[in-house]
């Protein structure tokens, strides 16, 4: 299968690989997927004043499209408010990376990772978790 140039670029030069201190109350961590399914994403956000995401990091076990989806997600998250981040839709990722139908689940996983990281941050800071749509992939 041929990958799009953008997937290859993110794959070869992944942005924001790394780890934030998961115990910090300013950091939200999302860990989604399962090793048995062939992809696991860990996405972390650091939230500053006015609910603005100041930093984002990821590590991903998965195919090139999964790595590219999470790399792109971290790029998009930085500078966004939590509310703006919640509005990121998996189809935006599909479009930006030109993912083929068989790889759409990678973008769904990235969206799940964003929401799960935000919820982790919210719960840590005494807020209610936002109900997530149960994704099917």
């Amino acid at each position: 299968m041929a990958y799009s140039e953008k997937v290859i670029d993110h794959y070869n030069n992944p942005r924001n690989v790394g780890t934030l201190n998961k115990d910090s109350k300013f950091v939200g961590t999302g860990l989604v997927g399962a090793p048995e399914c062939g992809d696991v994403m860990r996405l972390q956000i650091e939230v500053g004043e006015d609910n603005v995401i100041t930093d984002a990091k990821f590590k991903t076990f998965g195919c090139g499209s999964a790595i590219a989806s999470s790399s792109l997600a971290t790029e998009w998250l930085k500078g966004k408010t939590i509310d703006e981040a919640l509005a990121i839709d998996n189809m935006d990722i599909v479009e930006e990376l030109a993912l083929p139908p068989v790889k759409i689940h990678c973008s769904v996983l990235a969206e799940d990772a964003i929401k799960s990281a935000i919820n982790d941050y919210r719960v840590k800071n005494g807020l209610e978790a936002i109900a997530l749509e149960k994704s099917h992939h």
Partner: protein, 403 residues
């Protein structure tokens, strides 16, 4: 060095230039139909086919009359299994095969199940070999056929063919083997091994695509199969259709080259394979899949834990290899062969198959080692699972969101 390096010789092999040379005249001046009995064009084509039949027969130790040319191993598997089922249905309806067989065998068996066959799918031990006691226990008076592959396409393990044949014969059943990966790579002798039917293909042994053969035993016992294609009654009535003369000539030449060069080639390839495997096994958390004693000389299947196979192949774009990862197929299911060894899904997802061949050089293997190590290390840096493993977290204790 040519890039990418081709290490997928279990999928297909390049045509040996000597094979091409033998084939070429049969496309142009020797274009006749081998079934044309009344003129020189037909005779010349038939002569080419007859000579090829001898070359093929010599490689596997049978007579020329026992070779049925087909379009490949898939057709030969279909003809053997469906043909035996139809021919021997008065004797019984039970077929025994194994879960690690190629789809050409498994799906043929599934098809027959809809037509009244009862099929037993034997499991395999964690080294990929079937349990002979289990086979013996599965035999019934209705068993007409045991179909077990010679060498496995994904992990290269060689089944105890002689012992399997003996058990089948003891219970009055025929023994068929899909030997696509074995013929031409290791010595295969249908009489010494007790094989009644055997499918194989030219393009796995440096011959052309689109041609293969089914060996059908003629003596002790005389085996018959019902034709699956109706027509002009070619190939002793078992396989109608104008003979693919250039392809058959190519298969013959490929068999001859394998017979003459197999011994030195298998020693050379096993040494290269061992070098590849031992270097890559030095890496932490890498595992060789399948039995390492009874296997083909040119295959290595290795799982690199905590990295995903398709992602890994992308990082190794200088290498043409294959992976048991789900992501390489549309099904999202990892390799059924690796899973049947008892490998967990995550290890199956992390597997890479290296298939060496006649034209693989030591310099290529050295580069493959380097490229693989670099890619695995790179992806482990990206892998949350690797980080957790390094922190001593037991991944099996985590509640993963299955998706």
């Amino acid at each position: 060095m040519k890039q990418p390096i081709y290490l997928d010789n279990n999928a297909t092999t390049p045509l040996d230039p000597r094979v091409l040379e033998a084939m070429l005249p049969y496309f142009t001046e020797k274009f006749g139909n081998a079934a044309s009995r009344n003129h020189a064009f037909g005779w010349v084509a038939e002569e080419g086919v007859d000579y090829a039949r001898e070359q093929v027969a010599k490689l596997i130790g049978c007579t020329e009359k026992e070779i049925i040319f087909t379009s490949g191993a898939t057709e030969a598997d279909n003809l053997a299994i469906k043909g035996v089922f139809e021919m021997y249905k008065d004797k019984g309806n039970h077929i025994i095969t194994a879960v690690t067989e190629h789809k050409a065998v498994l799906d043929t068996c599934k098809h027959l199940e809809k037509n009244g066959a009862r099929v037993t799918y034997l499991g395999v031990k964690e080294d990929g070999l079937i349990d002979l006691a289990e086979l013996e226990a599965a035999m019934t008076p209705e068993t007409i056929l045991v179909s077990i592959m010679y060498g496995n396409n994904e992990i290269g393990v060689i089944q105890p063919v002689k012992e399997i044949a003996a058990i089948a014969h003891k219970h009055g059943a025929l023994f068929m083997t899909d030997a696509t990966q074995a013929v031409g790579k290791i010595p295969v002798d249908v009489n010494a091994d007790g094989i009644d039917l055997m499918a194989f293909s030219a393009h796995k042994m440096y011959g052309p695509k689109g041609v293969g053969a089914l060996y059908v035993r003629r003596k002790n016992p005389r085996v018959k199969v019902t034709a699956q294609m109706d027509g002009g009654g070619h190939e002793r009535g078992m396989r109608s259709g104008t003979l693919n003369v250039p392809g058959i000539v190519g298969l013959g030449k490929a068999c001859e080259l394998c017979r003459l060069e197999m011994e030195s080639e298998s020693i050379r390839l096993a040494a290269l394979r061992d070098k590849l495997e031992s270097s890559l096994s030095e890496m932490e958390e890498s595992y060789v899949n399948g039995n390492t004693q009874h296997r083909l000389p040119h295959v290595a299947n290795i799982s690199f834990k905590y990295v995903e196979g398709e992602g890994l192949m992308m990082a190794m774009s200088d290498l043409a290899v294959s992976s048991g990862s789900a992501c390489t197929s549309a099904s999202l299911e990892p390799s059924y062969v690796l899973k049947s060894l008892g490998l967990s899904d995550d290890l199956a997802h992390s597997s890479i198959r290296y298939g060496l061949g006649r034209f693989t050089t030591e310099a290529e293997i050295d580069q493959a080692i380097e490229v693989t190590k670099k890619a695995v290390n790179h992806l482990r840096e990206l892998s949350p699972l690797w980080e957790m493993f390094k922190e001593g977290i037991d991944l099996s204790k985590i509640e993963w969101a299955e998706h």
